[in-house]
């Protein structure tokens, strides 16, 4: 979230699309309700009428996988009807930038496409620069080569008629949603988006979100209370685990993972430190060397010196151009490319797309360790459906671990608040925390390396002073994440003794005098104490920022990009949306995105989007793998023979995996219906935690498949009938819920039916609960993130002769 949960109450229009907040983030509806009490409008856009839709003022259905078409139409409406916030767009975004002459877009392809490599040459999307190397601008937005005009042209193709024909949403419903949301372009209004996996889990996942971010920027909703782009995270600490490098391409604090070609710290820093020639762009990532060196000091401590690049060569490197995502891991595992696997705190046999492939891949391992609370489908995959235990060599170890409430530590929520939690109940005997399991594991690995190890330096030199008597110490780790002065130092006129906690990332240095496990969290645990443990209920702005409740990255800034909430003179765009204001030469309110004076002070100011090299937000995104403007492509599996927008049916750079387990079909009579997956309120993720909880199982006991009354009639399926749902990759048995909450779509003149089912069940428990809906989903994904496309695929559904006993 660029904003935070409480801030939803400041919104005038809440669009819930690509998420089902009422069911999967029930508490969020408290803040949605508070906004609605003050007159806000709630819009729910979803293929299925959900518990969220039941509370919405406006509901519109769309076919799964067509969000860019839906939102492209909204952009077209906003631009062609002058509903955008011109001053904001011109000054705070790259709408005014002039795009280089090589850029082009023809029939679904941007300039620079290499069909052999299925890759773009992104240099063809570069901006035109002046003599000083600063992008050229036209603040009137009239130059035909400026981003604004190119964008206007691009989205003029998304007419209501075209959009309706792609999405299956009626033109009347489109108009209602567009008109209502576009009203937040008025300066005294803000609109917010609450999205989740319904947007990310597509071959166009990143572009779904970019499309909405662009709309938010054109309407002037970014950085403002009641606005922003707000990802509802699927687990309470996903934000925290992402910040601390859950993903293969980043180190903690979103530093880049070193590539094999980055063979020295100098090369690494040069490669990954963005540059700007614009004197009023802060280009905050220009500080990358301070953060990367401080990170290395947190990894290797005293062993890392200037002479040995602070231990840079001991960091693991990834091969250039190679991806190591979830999909890649299981593809390689399936191809027997590696032998051992830790499935830690997860249940891939049910959670991963294309579960049959995942389960078969695990059978090719020599060993697997599953660290989990309960018995589950992963630990027991070798005796699951279709498996012959005699033929499976994989040795499986199931280690019991403590729940998050049985230990002390922090959880970072969707709103970027790091909240410290004390230990609740005592752990059961023999159950360890994840931290303690890791400590024991590492100490054993180190012992083995000491005896006989190839390249033992990374292990031997690994900093280990946060472990006390063989135990994980959450406070010591949190302090190291914040960072220390590693020697006496004077920074910004202040002197610090060795061993002092660094007050904030502004004090981090690139010479090895400071450590910080994650620069974004520098300021979270200082000499003033554990900021995440704060529980003060003061709200000085009255806008729900609660600055002394827990701690929020970066530097306790509650709404990021907040200097875009003020005009060029530092006054809030509208007095009713005041979280930050320049008064008597000072910023008052939230922690500003940099303390520089407002834009009207042309000498001393810096542009508000400080994390971007150009200092402005990117409506034109030249860094993405699949193009600078989001474009509608059909999902890998789709119900239409052609993409109405172009000859490119699917995203031309989407990854496609080639094993026999990766079958996929479009417009195949065997799989005529669109399928999607989702979660339910009553179960948590794969249900591993909740299927053992009898009260929750009572509420949602068995896998179901939801379908329209029309489809039920077509297939002779009645409500409550047992059905088989099948795709090119697998099948599940599920109880039919035949309902008016799904309706057939009119797509390109034909009727398209859609079904949906939750992925929270598994064969281990309960015995009659059914299995994971991920047995149906494909292993393809987004070309930028490689998140799987589990939200749109093709299936069939048939009635089974029997009711479940």
């Amino acid at each position: 979230m660029t904003n935070h949960w409480i801030d939803i109450r400041n919104s005038d229009c809440i669009l819930i699309m690509g998420s089902n907040a009422a069911e999967n983030h029930p508490i969020s509806m408290k803040w949605v309700g508070k906004a609605m009490d003050k007159g806000a409008t709630l819009i729910s856009v979803d293929p299925r009428f959900t518990r969220t839709s039941s509370k919405a003022d406006i509901y519109a259905a769309l076919r799964s996988g067509t969000d860019i078409a839906f939102l492209g139409g909204m952009m077209n409406y906003i631009l062609s009807n002058n509903k955008f916030h011109k001053e904001y767009a011109a000054n705070y975004t790259n709408a005014s930038f002039i795009v280089g002459s090589k850029f082009d877009f023809k029939d679904g392809l941007f300039a620079g496409y290499d069909p052999k490599k299925k890759k773009y040459d992104k240099s063809q999307w570069a901006f035109e620069k002046d003599g000083n190397g600063v992008p050229k601008r036209d603040l009137t937005l009239k130059d035909p080569r400026c981003v604004f005009q190119l964008m206007k042209k691009h989205y003029s193709r998304y007419t209501p008629k075209n959009v309706s024909s792609i999405t299956g949403t009626s033109e009347a419903d489109l108009k209602k949603v567009y008109e209502t949301y576009a009203k937040t372009g008025a300066v005294d209004k803000t609109g917010t988006i609450m999205y989740a996996m319904g947007w990310t889990q597509h071959t166009v996942g990143v572009q779904n979100i970019r499309m909405m971010a662009m709309i938010q920027l054109m309407l002037g909703n970014m950085g403002r209370p009641g606005g922003g782009v707000n990802a509802l995270r699927g687990e309470s600490n996903v934000q925290g685990s992402t910040d601390h490098c859950l993903l293969f391409h980043i180190l903690p604090g979103y530093l880049k993972t070193p590539r094999a070609s980055n063979d020295s710290l100098e090369v690494y820093n040069k490669k990954w430190t963005p540059k700007t020639n614009d004197p009023i762009s802060a280009n905050w990532w220009g500080n990358t060397p301070k953060y990367s060196v401080s990170f290395l000091k947190s990894m290797f401590g005293e062993a890392g010196t200037k002479e040995n690049d602070f231990g840079y060569s001991w960091l693991p490197k990834i091969d250039d151009g190679k991806t190591y995502s979830w999909l890649d891991i299981f593809d390689e595992m399936y191809k027997e490319k590696f032998k051992g696997f830790f499935a830690w705190g997860q249940n891939p046999a049910c959670s991963g797309a294309n579960s049959n492939k995942t389960r078969q891949a695990m059978a090719k391992l020599d060993w697997m360790v599953n660290v989990n609370l309960f018995h589950n489908e992963t630990a027991s995959f070798w005796k699951g459906p279709g498996m012959n235990p005699d033929e499976i060599k994989t040795e499986v170890f199931l280690l019991p671990c403590a729940t998050s409430v049985e230990k002390e530590g922090s959880i970072t929520n969707s709103g970027r608040w790091s909240q410290w939690r004390y230990q609740g109940p005592k752990r059961l005997r023999g159950v360890k925390t994840d931290g303690d399991i890791m400590v024991e594991l590492f100490e054993k690995v180190r012992e083995l390396y000491q005896a006989d190890g190839t390249f033992p330096e990374p292990i031997q030199n690994f900093r280990w002073d946060f472990v006390k008597e063989g135990k994980f110490d959450a406070h010591a780790v949190a302090k190291l994440i914040n960072g220390y002065f590693e020697k006496d130092a004077t920074v910004k006129g202040k002197s610090f003794k060795k061993g002092t906690l660094v007050p904030s990332f502004a004090y981090l240095l690139a010479d090895g005098s400071t450590s910080s496990g994650n620069w974004l969290y520098c300021n979270s645990y200082t000499e003033k104490g554990n900021m995440a443990a704060r529980r003060e209920k003061k709200d000085p702005t009255g806008m729900g920022l609660y600055p002394e409740w827990s701690w929020c990255w970066p530097v306790n800034r509650r709404i990021i990009y907040n200097r875009a909430s003020v005009d060029l003179n530092g006054k809030p765009w509208s007095p009713n949306k005041n979280i930050l204001e320049r008064k008597d030469g000072k910023w008052v309110g939230d922690v500003p995105d940099g303390g520089w004076p407002p834009m009207s002070n042309k000498e001393k100011t810096k542009r508000p989007f400080i994390m971007k090299p150009d200092g402005v937000a990117s409506v034109f995104g030249p860094g993405r793998a699949d193009g600078p403007f989001p474009e509608h492509y059909e999902p890998l599996e789709c119900p239409v023979p052609k993409n109405l927008m172009s000859s490119q049916r699917i995203n031309p750079v989407a990854p496609i995996y080639g094993t026999e387990a990766d079958a996929h079909f479009s417009c195949d009579p065997r799989f005529p219906f669109v399928g999607t997956t989702y979660r339910v309120t009553e179960h948590w993720q794969t249900g591993l935690l909740t299927r053992w909880q009898p009260w929750l199982l009572e509420l949602q006991p068995q896998l179901f498949v939801e379908m329209s009354n029309e489809l039920g009639k077509l297939k002779g399926i009645n409500n409550g009938d047992m059905c088989k749902v099948s795709s090119a990759r697998g099948e599940v048995e599920a109880v039919a819920i035949v309902t008016g909450r799904f309706k057939p779509f009119k797509v390109q003149g034909t009727t398209v039916h859609q079904i949906g089912l939750p992925w929270c069940f598994g064969w281990v428990q309960p015995k009659d609960g059914g299995d994971s809906a991920n047995l149906l989903t494909p292993s393809t994904g987004d070309p930028n993130t490689r998140i799987p496309e589990t939200k749109a695929f093709m299936v069939n559904v048939d009635k089974l002769g029997k009711r479940r006993a």
Binding site: A22, E23, P26, I27, M29, K30, G33, D37, F49, R51, T52, S53, S54, K55, A56, I58, Y59, V680, T681, E682, P694, W695, L696, L697, E698, L699, Q700, P701, Q702, L703, F704, N719, G720, V735, A736, I737, V738, T739, G740, R741, K743, R804
Partner: protein, 216 residues
């Protein structure tokens, strides 16, 4: 103790079923073996383990093509409980009313097994249930032990959206009036508080009652 009331604003309920589950958790109730039978509503009805049940009902509608109503059902704790009137005719004070209004089924109701049907029929909403495990008639007891210790009921404490509220009579009636006014404004004049003069569980609805719960 002053009279206690529930106020339930159905327009705010998202059917998270926190109330239904919190009730079981607090009361350490057992589990009813359920099946998926074509709806989210489970168990199908109130039972010996289920003193509060969220009912799910969907109907076609003009706005947004349909409506999906959620109705968190439990004993209304009537001001003049007909179940007590009926039971008193057979066994005096098997059902008692606390000074703050909780209608409680005592252990004595075990001797009312033969009259259970009549007592259930006396209830306009067929709330009472015969519990084999408890060997008596059961239903929501307004978390009397919590209430007498100054705590809210388990269900109202769990509600995230402000749909299910519990408190003093004046406070709840004020809230009900405010919410009714807001609902009427929002839903084109529709909205009513059910059985305002007769019960301690005030429901705000915006459509015909039969669209929220099947008629008993």
């Amino acid at each position: 103790m002053a009279g206690k009331f529930f106020f339930i604003d159905t327009t705010r309920c998202t059917a998270c079923r926190g109330c239904q589950t919190a009730c079981k958790q607090y009361k350490k109730h057992g589990v009813t073996k359920t099946k998926q039978y074509g709806t989210y509503q489970n168990p199908p009805d109130l039972d010996g383990n289920t003193f509060r049940l969220v009912r799910f009902m969907e109907h076609p509608a003009k706005t947004n093509s349909m409506v999906w109503y959620f109705f968190t059902e439990a004993c209304r704790h009537c001001l003049k409980p007909p179940c007590k009137k009926k039971a008193d005719q057979i066994l005096k004070d098997a059902i008692i009313v606390k000074d703050y209004g909780a209608v409680l089924y005592t252990k004595k109701t075990k001797d009312l097994e033969k009259s259970f049907k009549a007592i259930k029929q006396a209830c306009p909403w067929s709330i009472p249930t015969w519990s084999k495990e408890e060997d008596q008639i059961v239903k929501c007891n307004m978390c009397y032990d919590r209430v007498e210790a100054g705590l809210p009921t388990a269900c109202s404490k769990a509600c995230p959206t402000g749909a299910l509220n519990f408190g003093e009579e004046a406070e709840m009636k004020k809230l009900a009036n405010e919410h009714l006014k807001a609902a009427k404004k929002k839903f084109g004049g529709k909205g009513e508080i059910l059985d305002l003069e007769d019960v301690r569980a005030l429901y705000l609805i915006i459509d015909e009652q039969m669209k929220y719960r099947p008629v008993a």
